[in-house]
């Protein structure tokens, strides 16, 4: 069964600090990978996704993630965080199958608090 783990439950950073949120997944086949963000009181918003190709993926708001297949990892990074990045971040995966549209499995989430 697929599963997703995230390294940190809660991260606190000062503005301008660099961010890296760890994510590992467990699945034997090819996967699609996602990072979603949920700002306080708002719905899920896609930050970035990886389907194939360049393992370094750039998303919105200056975020990027790197897929390392050998490590089953898809870590999220941002060189300089802002107070407005305070949110819950979810790593997610679904099976990369051309004949099905598999459910998305979410990680437990990492709560990021950025201190001005």
């Amino acid at each position: 069964a697929q599963s997703v783990s995230q390294h940190n439950h809660h991260v606190i950073l000062s503005e301008a600090a660099s961010l890296e949120l760890g994510c590992n997944y467990s699945y034997g086949g090819t996967v699609n990978l996602f990072w979603y963000v949920q700002y306080p009181g708002q719905h899920l918003q896609l930050l970035l996704k990886y389907f194939s190709g360049d393992p370094l993926v750039k998303g919105i708001k200056g975020f990027e993630a790197e897929f390392i297949k050998s490590k089953f990892s898809f870590n999220l990074r941002k060189p300089s965080v802002q107070w407005s990045d305070t949110a819950e971040y979810f790593c997610a995966v679904n099976a990369h199958a051309r004949t099905s549209y598999d459910k998305v499995i979410f990680g437990p989430g990492t709560s990021l608090s950025v201190i001005p």
């Binding site: 699609n32 979603y36 549209y101 459910k103 499995i105 437990p108």
Partner: protein, 112 residues
Amino acid sequence: EPEVTQTPSHQVTQMGQEVILRCVPISNHLYFYWYRQILGQKVEFLVSFYNNEISEKSEIFDDQFSVERPDGSNFTLKIRSTKLEDSAMYFCASIESLDEQFFGPGTRLTVL
């Protein structure tokens, strides 16, 4: 930009009552999903739906739950007899093809 919409945004109900949560997926999408997020927990898959039938359901999706696409636009989740533990945010999602699932804004269900 097309988006998934959900109504109501907040539903309060008494334990044992039936609720229907409504979703309007993006118009040319073919696959539909319900997820839920209990406060402070991760988002969990409930059910997927394609071609007017359930494709997959999780163990959470028991006999109290049902889904329906009553017309060409709406996709509903019904909970027959709500329990306290059904209190959660319920997200609808849809997808056209091999792309990411587009999530709606969610319905917050509070069972008293």
